[in-house]
């Protein structure tokens, strides 16, 4: 008898539904808490600072339902995941794999505990990290937005585990989502379209649908990823079946622990330059004659693609992000990138006098070094210079728990329901039922609830 080789979705699903994710170290569970806290805060912050996202209009009653964060209502779960994911996307602060919004909705549906959510997030992050290492580079070369395409796989694993799917059903869901996930061009971001914010929620929408559908047999082909007409060959331009790299969970360290949070509300490509700037004494914007940024090639390539100066395009641009930072001395979520700020003559002059080029120190072969050197030439001829070979909150100096807590509270605002303050997701007992947490948040307070 000849053994049938398991396909990649089989392998991923078998691991994700096993005790493997439960075996992750305490540090991984801590990292998962941090990710949940941050994504929740960003979504609630987006709702508070930017108003209701249009996808919330699509979110209609239906079963199974889950909470629409910040709106004190439950809606059909895929739409809760969609709207919750989109709500904070325009803040450009979200980090890490797309696990939390789909996972939260699935945890509510299946009446799971906070600990179950953490385990599922670890699983989703691990699968997402594996696929990202394999395909994100080629996706970027195609001008595509890797998280928008690959995020659905993380979301499916997270949701699927919480929904209690078997390995076979989760494999089918992963294969199904691989068929419906978008190729997702980067162009909406660099073109400044508000539609770009769909990328924040669509992976969760798809992931939850796929998880629900697989229970009724609406699944994809087992070779959806590596097959001769599958997704990977289309990304790698292979023209036929491809051999995936080995999946070794935890081999490179746990992916959820490698999430680096975003301190600045703009594309990561700008973060090294902004980190360097933050180390300089603030100059009078009117005294600045020229700004020179030398950074890593992908950031320069993105800069070349930016079209127009809509707020979202400015968030994709090193030049505009630097200009707003220099004009205001900081970047505030929901405040620094608006139609008013990007049309401010001070900002536009600074953007016009900023150049972005590849820095030789960052252009070599090998792993990408996300660094930048910045020179500010003042009108009197003096030059301020700084460099950052890693963005703030990068791998060597990650955000502390306190910094993340502060950021969460700042985003959510001072009308936070007491129950949510008391809960403190960084210390919440893992046995806490998710439905109880949501219900508690809806009592008291006038501001955002879950």
């Amino acid at each position: 008898m000849t053994a049938i080789s398991a396909t990649l979705v089989d392998n991923l699903a078998t691991w994700a539904t096993s005790t493997g994710p439960e075996g992750a170290p305490v540090s991984a569970r801590r990292a998962a808490r941090r990710l949940v806290l941050d994504r929740l805060g960003i979504s609630l912050g987006g709702r508070r600072l930017l108003g209701q996202h249009p996808t919330a209009m699509l979110a209609l009653p239906g079963q199974p339902s889950a909470s629409l964060w910040g709106e004190r209502r439950s809606v059909f779960a895929p739409y809760a995941a969609l709207a919750n994911g989109c709500a904070g996307d325009a803040l450009e602060l979200e980090a890490g794999p797309d696990c939390v919004e789909a996972g939260w909705a699935a945890a509510e549906i299946a009446d799971r505990s906070f600990g179950d959510l953490l385990t599922a997030v670890i699983a989703g992050a691990e699968v997402g990290g594996y696929v990202r290492r394999w395909l994100a580079g080629p996706l970027e070369e195609h001008g595509l937005h890797p998280p928008a395409m690959l995020g659905a796989l993380s979301a499916t694993v997270t949701a699927g585990r919480l929904l209690g799917l078997s390995a076979a059903r989760l494999a089918g869901a992963l294969a199904g989502v691989a068929c419906l996930t978008p190729r997702a061009p980067f162009g909406p971001f660099t073109g400044g379209s508000t539609g770009k914010t769909l990328y924040g929620g669509w992976p969760h929408f798809l992931g939850l649908w796929a998880g629900l559908w697989s229970a009724d047999g609406m699944v994809g082909p087992p070779t959806a990823l590596e097959g001769s007409r599958g997704i990977a060959q289309s990304v790698l331009d292979a023209g036929g079946a491809v051999t995936p790299p080995p999946f070794g969970p935890g081999v490179h360290g746990w992916d959820v622990e490698q999430v680096t949070f975003k301190p600045f509300p703009c594309c990561r490509a700008s973060h090294p330059a902004l980190t360097a700037l933050a180390g300089l004494e603030r100059a009078d914007p009117a005294a600045i004659r020229e700004v020179r940024v030398r950074t890593y090639p992908y950031a320069v390539e993105l800069e070349r693609r930016v079209r127009g100066q809509a707020p979202i395009a400015a968030q994709a641009s090193v030049r505009w992000s630097v200009a707003v930072f220099l004009a205001h001395g900081e970047l505030q979520p929901g405040r620094s990138f608006t139609a008013t700020t990007v049309s401010d003559p001070i900002v536009t002059r600074l953007a016009d006098c900023t150049t972005v080029e590849v820095g030789l120190d960052y252009a070599g072969e090998g792993p990408r070094v996300r660094g930048a050197q910045v020179e500010i030439v003042l009108n009197d001829g003096r030059v301020q210079a700084a460099r950052a070979d890693e963005p703030r909150w990068g791998p060597s100096a990650p955000a502390t728990d306190e910094e993340l807590r502060e950021r969460f509270c700042a985003l959510v605002g001072d009308e936070l329901p007491p129950a949510l303050v008391d809960a403190d997701l960084l210390d919440l007992p893992e046995s806490t039922p998710m439905r109880a947490l949501v219900a508690a948040s809806e009592r008291g307070g006038t501001g955002p609830s879950l």
Binding site: F76, G143, C179, T181, D216, G217, V219, G227
Partner: protein, 446 residues
Amino acid sequence: MPESLLLRTARRVADLGWEDLLPAVRERLPLVVLDVLGCGWVGARLGVHAAWVEQIVAAGGPADATVWARGDRLPAPHAALVNGTIAHHVEMDDGNSRASLHGGVTIVPAALALGEQTGASGRAVLAAIAAGYEAAIALGRPLLPGIGAHRLHPPVMVGCFGATAAASRMLGLNVEQTAGALALAAEVLPAGPFEAFTKGAPIKDTYGGWPALVGVQSALLAQAGLAGAVDLFEAPGDGLGPSLLHAPLDTAGFGPDPEEILHNQYKAYSTCRSVQPTLTAVERLGPLDPDDVAAIQVETYPYAVGLSDDADPTTAIGARTSIPYGVASLLLDGEVYPESFVARALADPRRQALAGRVRASIASDMASSPPVRGARITVTLTDGTIRRSEVRATRWSGEDPATPEELRAKFRRLAGAAAPALETAVDALPGAPHLDGLVAALRVRP
């Protein structure tokens, strides 16, 4: 700078009314609707994806639009999703080779769902459907080479544009909103790997319904104020051109064509289009006793051979890309209709044995670019007799289009007992002030 393709297309869509349609287009539109309704009814009769449909129905939500052949009413995006998916299963819905579009299962469900929700007139719905076809083909044509090169399924992408255009028209969006809606759809075009089809995965059937859902939602989001990037086709570094063609897209030669729907092709067989030239050639051979067949050699165009070689003929979906399975079914059943793909047929040893005697290879004279979508058949009978047949096009395509009578006969066959009510209601659409008559017919069970 010239206006972007999305804006040019939106300008046509947003302005298109019944009075703007060519007489031939007006005449053709009811047949377009009937063709997909027939597919929907036979899918429902076969119980396709019954548990999945129940799940979507159980999800509930506002009762805005009707699930065909069931009568349940769902939110418009969900009704469009279910109707397009079930109708697509049998692979007899229409096509348009200029952009590899399956407009019937993507555009029509979106237009009918929103037409029902908004209380639109029959003419408004039909005009929206025409707008959908024009937009889908205008936007799909420049992308088609890139989609094919990546071994992806063009209709699932192209159909999103058509459904979005139709939905935008139904919602009365202006030019900018329509362009924005089309751009939103472009963001979330499903990757649609062909693997789902050749390997017979159930999700492939959503390649009909998912674009319908995307279309309705994109239009609703644009109406709610979400703005798409209307230069997404032309964006040089990270628009749709680089993502699929590795180069910026020159859209200068593309745009809506008012005759587009007249180029539709209809399917006489329940298979992927790639199998259909072969089936046409086999039919031309005339009567043939399957037991007399020793071997059949099929020569056809490369794409068809590649799909067939990758096909899993043990599944109802995968078998529809298999040339050997299609040929065997035609010889055994005398036709290739949905019944040739039910579980009993798939497991039929006689069919499998006959398929095992069919070989497909590439015809060098059909390998041009674009290919000649033809087939050459050589049948060797058990007594040594050789019979040959060759076609350069599929039945009901090109120089040999389906007649209205043939399309109505196909519809009646597929829709069964529901056919009279549906046919009456659809034919009345050009004079109908609303869709109530059609909606009543849509509830008729198979």
